[in-house]
Symmetry: C2
Subunit: 341 residues, 2 copies
Amino acid sequence: MLKNKLFLDALQGKTVSRPPVWMMRQAGRYLPDFMKLKAKYDFFTRCQTPELAAEITVMPIDQIGPDAAILFSDILVVLQAMDIPVEMKDGVGPWIPNPIRDAAAVDRVVVPDVDDRLHYVLDAITLTLEQLDGKVPLIGFAGSPWTLLCYSVQGSGSKTFDVAKAFCFSSPDAAHKLLQKITDTTIAYLKRKVAKGVHAVQLFDSWGGLLGPADYQEFSWYYLQQIVAALQPHIPVIVFGKGCWFALKDMSRSGASALGIDWTCSARNARYLSGGEITLQGNYDPARLLSPIPTIKKDVKEMIAAFGKDRYIVNLGHGILPNIPVAHAQAFVDAVKEYPK
Amino acid sequence: MLKNKLFLDALQGKTVSRPPVWMMRQAGRYLPDFMKLKAKYDFFTRCQTPELAAEITVMPIDQIGPDAAILFSDILVVLQAMDIPVEMKDGVGPWIPNPIRDAAAVDRVVVPDVDDRLHYVLDAITLTLEQLDGKVPLIGFAGSPWTLLCYSVQGSGSKTFDVAKAFCFSSPDAAHKLLQKITDTTIAYLKRKVAKGVHAVQLFDSWGGLLGPADYQEFSWYYLQQIVAALQPHIPVIVFGKGCWFALKDMSRSGASALGIDWTCSARNARYLSGGEITLQGNYDPARLLSPIPTIKKDVKEMIAAFGKDRYIVNLGHGILPNIPVAHAQAFVDAVKEYPK
């Protein structure tokens, strides 16, 4: 039995006493206890060891007090399960030793048995739910097929993902084949997460905003829509497309329960572009958490006033930065809990 | 006497037989003759040697045939003139050995005599105009104060410019002092470019889209507006803010002659957000130039149909990528010249 239903109520569009709050990447990075684990275990060991993933997931719930937990994991574990090895290099980030560059490589990509290849994520969900003991709901997540294609083709992070885009624009058939394989894997993966008990799912389209609107429809939204449809109406789905303001209308009609908004889209624009009915989540500039604490508290109050108390989930507009002082993250959460003061 | 006035006519909102076309970063990168010069002279030598800058500026006019030339230079020469050394490192990009991190460092930044410190740019304009011999107009440019602050504080390129943003959000007074110094220098610099004979000026706010709308007003637009006002009505000004769709309304009322649009903003959204009257410039995804040539030609025709023939300048939505085949750049320009076929 959930003791805090604010997050699920907001996803269902119910009237709430105050909006719920959580922070993207709240499990990790800025927390000193996370940094201690980071010093002992490498990135994918933390993802692949259910005990560690559960410990990291619950850490901010106990220490900062947000209204939802998000499973500690990474969008790239799906590529690993598809026989596309991914490493995490210090100071570089994700690193794919053998990026996909042609149709033959796409043909070699497998759609795996997720229970076999991603059992550690499913086990982490079971452990986490035990440890959360109903305190707050648990969010599962996956990357969008487009965003995963970006990494698998580019071979690393990038400002422009020009190699990935060149692949799509010069070999669209191969690109679509890869996107469909990622989509099929992601649907199976998320269905298993739902079966294990996550209360909601968030889809991260971190690089959707690198595409123009027509290309976004073709290479990203077409696949995201398949995933949303496959999960409806069993579980609330949040779609977060960074830089995808131009797609908010389509997203709002997709069956998703909520849309993530980045900080370049004002509350007013976000409500207008998404049609005014759907729950929105966001959108504090992560770098703004480096402001003085009184500024953060004032900003949060103004943000709630702008989005409105209902159909709204307070969050950042993208992942928290590693150099945010814990007291500033705490002030962000506290300011929401002090509402309507 | 200018032999090709299409570009200036479009900036003045006149009816034209076809829209003019040029490409951001057309002087360089993808041109084999440029690569030969690159192998012989380092980046800032090319910028600082008027004969080289003029040769590179004219190169695409002779080889590709766009309707305007843009002076080969770099937005960062303004920082160098302000006693903020900037290097260009292979594989890294811009590198500032002593980034600005506190109020004392801001106080040491000078507002220079631009005739003394940037004479090589002014000399390059004179030489270029001689070599162009009236074939096409010449565009001068500068970076926005915010974008220059980003580099001067961060110390290098960045996906998020988190250090630069942290500086603004934690030390706003020092940030504003620096922004005003850059603004004053830029106004003096562009006035001298105009006196030397450039036919139009473009302001590049490459990193404006990293700010939310309220922060954009405070840390970027307030200064860009000063620059536009200082140059009006003497010279047409194009304002290009990458990712700044949310600011198009303010920009359209600023006195600017045209607004640059990136490829994430559809023609329809761009016309709507900018009020429907001002000339727009853009917005082909630079990575889309990696498409097959027939796709490029079809896309250009659709783009002109979407923006409309008048009050429109065909361009990319950001700088051309270094790996674009010359034939693809040529096809982009040719497709415009074939209008209305």
